[in-house]
Subunit: 151 residues, 2 copies
C-alpha cells in the first residue's frame, strides 16, 4: 500500500492538468456539453441527409451552410468525454470510451477527416458528390455509435 | 367566419415556408436545438470570462480558440425560436420573443456584431482588450436575457 498515496496524487494531478476536465465546472456540464454539441451537429447533418435522400429539394447553398456547421461542430463534443462521466446523468456513453481511448480517439479523428470532405463536396454544387460525402460521413458516425454508444 | 379557412391556410403556408420551422422535425427539437447551441456557446464564453475575471491564468491561444467557437455558435440558436415553441418543454423563453420579434432580432444581431470583436480582441494577445470585449459581449447577452428570458 505504500504506493497508494503517491499514485492517487499522480492520478489527481493528471486529471487536474487535463484541459478537458478543467473546462467544466461539474461533470453534469461535461455530459450536457457533449450531448448538446452532438445534437446540434446531428440536426445540421440531418438536413444534408434529407437532401441526399431526396426528402427535401437539393439546395446547394443550404447544403454548404449545413456542412460548414457540421464541420465546426465536429471538433467540439470530445472534450466533454471527461473520465468519470460515463454514469453521470442520462447518457448512452459506453464505458469503452474510457477503457479503449485510443480506438475512441481514432473514431473522433476519422470524423474530423470526413467533415472537411463534406464541405468540399457541398462546394462542388453537385448532388451526387454531396450524397457520396454524406454517406461516407454517416458511416463514420455509425461506426463510432456501434462501438461506443448504447442503443 | 368566412375568412377563417383562407386565414388558416395562409398562416399554415407562412409557417411551412419559414426555413426555421421547416428545419426541425418537431417543436421539441427546435427547443432542444436552441438550448443546446446556447449551452455550448455559454460554456466557451465562460472560459473567456474566467480569464477576464482572473479566475484562471490568461492563455492567449485558449482565449482565441474559445472566442472563435463563441463566434461560430452565436449564429445558430435563433433558428430554434420557431413560433409556437414558447410553451414546449422546459424553457425560459418569454412570449415577448414572438410578440416583439423586431426587438428580439435586434438583440440577436447585436450579438452577431459583438462576437467578431471578441475574436479580434483575442487575436491582439492583450488581456485588457479581451476583458473589454468580454464585458461588452456579456452585456449584450444580459440585455437580451433581461428582456426575453424568464429568471
Amino acid at each position: 500500500m505504500r504506493f497508494a498515496a503517491p499514485f492517487v496524487l499522480a492520478a489527481f494531478t493528471a486529471i487536474a492538468a487535463t484541459p478537458a476536465s478543467a473546462q467544466f465546472a461539474k461533470a453534469e456540464d461535461a455530459v450536457k456539453y457533449r450531448q448538446s454539441a452532438l445534437f446540434v451537429m446531428a440536426q445540421h447533418f440531418g438536413r444534408i441527409g434529407a437532401m441526399a435522400n431526396g426528402k427535401v429539394p437539393y439546395d446547394a447553398k443550404v447544403a454548404l451552410e449545413n456542412a460548414q456547421v457540421v464541420d465546426e461542430m465536429a471538433r467540439l463534443p470530445w472534450a466533454g468525454f471527461v473520465p468519470g462521466t460515463e454514469k453521470v446523468g442520462n447518457t448512452r456513453a459506453k464505458p469503452e470510451i474510457w477503457t479503449e481511448q485510443v480506438k475512441f480517439r481514432e473514431h473522433n479523428e476519422k470524423l474530423l477527416a470526413e467533415t472537411p470532405r463534406l464541405v468540399a463536396a457541398a462546394k462542388t454544387n453537385n448532388l451526387d458528390n454531396l450524397k457520396s460525402a454524406f454517406q461516407s460521413t454517416a458511416a463514420t458516425c455509425k461506426s463510432c455509435h456501434d462501438s461506443f454508444r448504447n442503443q
